[in-house]
Amino acid sequence: MNIPENLRYTKEHEWVKLEGNIATIGITDFAQRELGDIVFVEVESIGKTLSAGATFGTVEAVKTVSDLYLPVNGTVTELNALLSTVPESVNNDPYGAGWMIKMTVENPDDVAGLLDAAAYSNLVG
């Protein structure tokens, strides 16, 4: 299973990549495998300021649906437009082309408090 060292993770299987105060969020390789073929990603929280743990969207797979949770406090700024036409990017490249949203993080230190690759690896062991 692919768990890149340079990212942070949540118990809900999202990954976070921080650059300045902008974070990119997606779901992990483990999560996309568990969900199976992804049909679409729905995000209706663009422009909204939400707390960590709030639902920012949903991901629909052929067999199941799952909520997406915001890893840290902040404002959702952008949805990956590619996903509207190529939702399978989440399956094929979960940490790259399959990223889901970008957000402005309220406090960048919050990201450091999330799971690192080793801790996430233990979680999905």
Partner: protein
């Protein structure tokens, strides 16, 4: 957790495994869409050995089957199979099943859902007042479904039985891959054609058959298929799944199974069902496709334009073949008009859908 004779094969092939009906079963291998397409366009193999098989023998075997099932098993000759259901005393459904006529008036095999084996066995035993000899051969019986337009062509070299020309819902017994006494049945749960093969798990026969099928199939694109694609395949055809689309509260008439409910014979809840037929059912199982974006799921509410609840979704998925979201559900009979607009409550939204015919297209 129980294993089938093929559990280790699935694990070795890298399948995603999960518990289903007490068995450790393969849910998917290469991915639902890929597996689904393999069955629709070519061929796939399913291990469905978790299903239950009962043998009923003797002069009263047919009488017992006639009493507990809704379809008319007296019409079956040797080598014919029939889809049927076990109605309960209230006119609901204990289970749906296949009835195989091995030897008319003497030997029958019933094939039931894995999660209902014990319930069905007890139910049939309760009605077995004439001491029909019953054997539960579920644990020792392997069942592989090889489904798809090219399935029989791939397998033909493994048997002398003419499976290419085996008619739908007929079967034959013979040698397959060197193993004697294999029952090959032109049935399935995919609508893609192909066969299901039943055999006893003894002395490495299961391994022998599995390996032989892969030897002839792999170079021709045969793929192993998990239970997830089995569900999307059956749903595209509008086939009912027990526990979703039919259950103890749903009558066969409500579920569109009037064609397997024959009032020309006596059976459990005949009077209740006959009355339902005369008066009309209050609700009906309908098929629908989504017009607006959203995927229906089991349990979601179905509403009318005014936002009133008129039913609920029993099965739903994104159809891999049709590339649209489809579903089935119960609605009040007054709302069960073909092409009618309905609305599915998808979490906090109401999403438009319309009633369509099955199979979905």
């Amino acid at each position: 957790m129980k294993q089938t004779a093929f559990t280790n094969k699935h694990i070795a092939l890298g399948a995603k495994m999960a518990e289903f009906a007490g068995y450790n079963m393969p849910i998917s291998y290469s991915g639902i869409n890929d597996e689904h397409a393999a069955v629709r366009k070519n061929a796939g193999i399913f291990d469905v050995s978790h299903m239950g098989e009962f043998i009923l023998k003797g002069e009263f075997a047919l009488d017992l089957i006639q009493l507990v099932t809704s379809n008319d098993a007296a019409k079956l000759s040797d080598g014919q199979a029939q889809y049927s259901c076990l109605p309960n005393n209230e006119g609901g459904i204990v289970d749906d099943l296949l009835v195989y006529c091995i030897e008319k008036n003497k030997v029958y095999m019933l094939v039931v859902n894995a999660s209902n084996i014990e319930k069905d066995w007890n139910w049939i035993q309760q009605h077995n007042t004439k001491n029909v000899e019953m054997h539960n051969i579920s644990d020792k019986t392997c069942l592989l479904a090889i489904q798809g337009p090219n399935a029989t062509k791939m397998l033909q070299s493994l048997t002398e039985i003419d499976i290419l020309n085996l008619k739908y819902y007929t079967f034959a017994k013979g040698k397959f891959a060197g193993v004697e006494n294999v029952l090959i049945s032109a049935t399935g749960y995919t609508g893609a054609g192909g066969v299901e093969i039943y055999f006893e798990d003894k002395e490495g026969d299961a391994e022998k058959i599995w390996n032989a099928i892969f030897e002839v199939g792999t170079s021709q694109g045969l793929k192993p298929i998990g239970l997830a694609a089995r569900d999307t395949l059956r749903l595209e055809m509008g086939f009912c799944l027990y526990g979703n689309d039919i259950d103890a509260t749903a009558s066969p008439l409500e579920a569109g199974l009037g064609w397997i409910t024959k009032f020309t014979k006596e059976f459990t809840a005949k009077e209740i069902l006959q009355k339902q037929k005369q008066e009309g059912v209050k609700r009906k199982l309908i098929a629908f496709e989504m017009i607006e974006k959203g995927i229906p799921r089991h349990g979601y509410e179905i509403k009318n334009e005014a936002g009133e609840k008129i039913g609920y979704v029993t099965s739903g998925t994104q159809s891999p073949t049709l590339q649209k979201a489809i579903g089935m559900g119960y609605v009040n009979s007054a709302n069960a008009q073909l092409n009618a607009t309905i609305f599915i409550a998808v979490r906090d939204k109401t999403v438009q859908a319309k009633l369509v015919k099955i199979p979905f297209q």
